[in-house]
Symmetry: C2
């Protein structure tokens, strides 16, 4: 199959440091090539891939200091559009813009939504442009979306087996990995360590936007002798960091759409203690590769339980459910079902327009009753 | 003529407080209706107009607390697209997205660019989508743009004669009106007042982004007895504020694309002392409706000169050059020239694609040599 993958330009593919989406696109591209497909990757300069690379920005937008990504992304999409006939399938990993620019090619296009979808800023867009087939990365991620969204599949992320090698022995600390931000709840991780008497290592970057939170809420807690703050670590350090942990703490307080770090830990054989939010129940097989909790007390108990879990069983679960091979096969099946659907329907390219304005969608109504009330009064004036 | 005007959704048309673009769109819509055209205005709820209003968001995005405008704007553009056949001309006042979404209708579309255009974030977009006819609001605004930009006209803003009524007497203070930000140089205004012994009134909002600058650089200067800080003022206060001033200070240090406040002051008969940047030499008729300066010394001298200027002559210059009637007639002429151009050319809808990637444009090269250098090395790797 001739497949175009369209990556975000924010980071190179693969990214040098942080950049979950670009890493997934990187792995998917390599695996699709390995499985015999002709893959073309649209991405920023500095990317390295086995696929045919089309450089759509001189370097990653982060390195170039470009903060507004719209212009660069629209440039890339024009090039994708120009070459659209060369591909059987065009698979977008950027959101919003392809919905508007490729809806007339929806019979051969799809978008994987990598982020949270409960934002009033962007929800109306999906209602207004319902043609584009969508892939969610967890079922939970779909909940806020309009009823007319054109779902093709839910496909969990996967990663190559060698990226986070299995570590039979593990280690004796609790691990927290990711970003320091209120919704990731590093404060809960510190509290768990305190209550269990375990040591905690935190490997996390602090974005500018989260610096005030870090200074006020987290930094004062880092003085405890049982906490070690490592800052941002790179890919190779990360494997060892996860592999040598007793358990990964994932005490989130937001609708996590997937949570790549959970399957990275599982790949290393390290069980996960995670709060029941977003994708967590779909990713963590409870009491096999970790424990799903709803409270601090349950989390403290879970630390003891994970200490007795079989790391081999955790890895086995990873291999059964979260390899890149499985992910790529899922995507190829989705591509085929899309093409089959298109060939059996003649009306696909022109579905009916939504009968009500996008912003009157029930999900938005429920989310912002006050907004809709003032909308009603605005209407009566206009 | 059947004309669609497509306004930003950030503010209502007209806006309640700040919102230069929405105010210009408001005036243009009213005047085109008055001149006998059938005008349809696409705008946010809360807008009030003599044109046919199509509400494209329940309320202004600012009031709704929506910070990412892309989704809502794309929703609006789908509605514009759906109704495109109803209009002879579609006139956009939002940038970037229409270039990508309407380039196949470029024979009847145009975009007025309201902002600064020297940003590496968005410049490649204009190179990649060169079809859309563009209107600049000053000639200076065009300078950073790619050579293949499809310029239709430069059309200065205009405003209705009654908005800032002529004040024959004026008053005895210097006025600074706008935003507190480093590029507006309120510090220069304070220095001018100090050196001339005149009192200065500052009517300006402070955006969150500029709060640190305000606290560090400007607030300490507000203690002087000759400075009065009024905060943000509304439309009716503004007229009196400008009309009762001896002169408006416009000591900018950035490529101002137009500077509406200059013609508002001129409408009131108040001369303008402005630094020679961006649009200033095109707006201020030097020594007639103000003085153009390059230094603090010249600005101090200019204060004495403006005290002797004829306020009636300033108003006359406004009436000759900056009324909304003139602006609307210019736009109608531009619409007609666009339609004539389209009817005389058959190849209009499909101009050649740019031969080099947008980001290789000389303007971008010059603007960021370092970026291009590392781009070259990225290329050799990929």
């Amino acid at each position: 199959m001739r497949i175009a993958l369209v990556a975000p330009l924010a980071e190179a593919v693969p990214p040098k440091l942080y950049g979950g989406t670009e890493r997934v696109v990187c792995w998917l591209a390599e695996e699709l090539v390995r499985q015999g497909h002709k893959v073309t990757l649209f991405a920023s300069g500095g990317s390295q891939t086995e696929a045919d690379l089309v450089v759509c920005a001189p370097q990653s937008l982060r390195l170039a200091g470009i903060r507004d990504h719209i212009g660069s992304t629209l440039c890339m999409l024009r090039e994708v559009r120009r070459r659209a006939d060369e591909f059987d399938i065009i698979h977008f990993h950027v959101d919003l813009l392809p919905q508007a620019l490729f809806h007339d090619l929806a019979h051969k296009c799809l978008t994987t939504l990598h982020g949270r979808l409960d934002q009033p800023d962007t929800l109306p867009l999906y209602e207004a442009y319902p043609e584009m087939p969508l892939v969610s990365i967890s079922n939970a991620q779909r909940l806020p979306m309009p009823a007319n969204a054109n779902w093709l599949a839910t496909i969990s992320h996967g990663l190559p087996s060698h990226v986070c090698p299995f570590d039979l022995e593990g280690g004796d600390y609790l691990a927290f990995l990711g970003r320091i931000s209120p919704e990731k709840r590093p404060d809960r991780a510190i509290e768990i360590a305190k209550r269990t008497g375990m040591s905690l290592k935190i490997a996390a970057k602090v974005d500018t936007a989260d610096m005030a939170y870090f200074k006020a809420e987290i930094e004062p807690l880092l003085g405890h002798s049982f906490v070690e703050f490592l800052g941002e670590i790179d890919e190779s350090q990360k494997c060892r960091f996860l592999g040598k942990a007793r358990a990964l703490l994932f005490p989130i307080d937001w609708p996590e759409p997937f949570g790549l770090v959970m399957i990275e830990a599982m790949s290393a054989g390290t069980p996960v203690i995670a709060w029941r939010k977003g994708s967590v129940p779909e990713v963590v097989t409870d009491h096999v590769c970790g424990v799903i909790v709803d409270s601090m007390e349950a989390a403290v108990t879970a630390v003891r339980e994970t200490a007795m879990m079989s790391r081999a069983a955790v890895r086995a679960e990873f291999e059964a459910r979260f390899t890149v091979g499985r992910m790529a096969r899922n995507y190829v099946a989705a591509y085929r079902s899309l093409l089959a659907r298109a060939s059996s329907r003649t009306d696909f390219a022109a579905p009916p327009s939504p009968s009500t304005p996008a912003w009157e969608h029930p999900a938005l109504r429920a989310a912002s009753v006050n907004m809709v009330r003032s909308q009603a009064s605005d209407h009566s004036q206009s």
